[in-house]
């Protein structure tokens, strides 16, 4: 059906304009020019497909990077996500926002990759029951430091990178990407309770990481 492999431009064109930094981007409103590009890309227009890449590459790549914590893998899977987009764009019917649809596709690409690797982060029985020492312990008596107002974006990004993979997946999907627990449970084939529990453990672990980072030299985090 698609012939978008023809007529592809040498450059994907300009990046999407920056979004309002106060707006969480997890459920994007339609982007100007996106609907037209979708229609044309569905008809096999390579330039339109390049426009969609330019509009969404940053968010898809950031999603992959945060889920995987590895630049090379994130780039590979960004590529795979857009190749799948090219194959499947004809099936997009507009029942949800295109960005939501695409990002779900990207999440599935990442999860499929992790399952193929056979790593424990997608064996949910294991993923959702990491060692008790991670994030599960209570925080009784540790009152020497609070975080509020003191964490910049870069520091938080680095702490997220240092989360155990299972925690990172749920934290990124819920707190960063804005998926609901029932959606995450469906994606990860686990219970909603497990998703909630894992998220809490992830936040607790992050707090530990951020606090220890504050105590140590910044470069040591």
């Amino acid at each position: 059906m698609s012939t978008a492999n023809k007529n592809l431009p040498a450059s994907p064109g300009p990046t999407a304009p920056p979004k309002n930094p106060n707006q969480h981007m997890r459920r994007n409103p339609p982007i100007a020019g996106e609907a037209e590009a979708i229609g044309k890309a569905q008809a096999g227009d390579g330039v339109a497909f390049a426009t969609l890449y330019a509009l969404h590459k940053r968010r898809v790549y950031s999603l992959c990077l945060r889920m995987l914590g590895n630049v090379a893998e994130a780039e590979d899977l960004t590529q795979e996500a857009f190749l799948q987009l090219h194959r499947k764009i004809g099936t997009f019917r507009g029942d949800s926002a295109f960005s939501t649809w695409l990002h779900r596709l990207a999440v599935n690409v990442v999860l499929m990759h992790l399952r193929k690797k056979g790593l424990p982060q997608v064996s949910l029985e294991e993923t959702l029951e990491p060692s008790q020492q991670d994030g599960q312990r209570k925080d009784i008596g540790a009152r020497d430091l609070t975080l509020s107002g003191s964490i910049d974006r870069v520091t938080l990004e680095r702490a997220v990178e240092n989360l155990p993979p299972g925690y990172r997946l749920v934290f990124v999907l819920h707190d960063v990407e804005g998926y609901e627990h029932n959606e995450i449970a469906s994606m990860l084939d686990c219970s909603i309770g497990n998703s909630k529990s894992q998220l809490h453990k992830a936040r607790m672990k992050l707090r530990d990481l951020l606090r220890s980072g504050q105590r140590a030299e910044p470069a040591d985090l």
Binding site: K19, Q79, R143
Partner: protein, 86 residues
Amino acid sequence: MDARKKENGSLSMSCAEFQERLPELFESGTDFSNDPHLAACENCSALVRDLRYIAQQAKLLLPIHDPSPAVWENIQSALKKEPSGA
């Protein structure tokens, strides 16, 4: 106030008990402002503040990273090899 504390039963709740309930409290959107345990416990108050702060900051993690130009080049190359009209 005392009646309220009796009602929710957390007047004598220990830190461990409170923290055991935290995931459920967070997910249910509980208003912590009148929680008697937090009113009396600086440590758990700090914990709740921090966890909220982390969740809030996470929402502000904008996608700022761009993939390298090689990604688009690879996509183009792969698409040229794919059969058209698939």
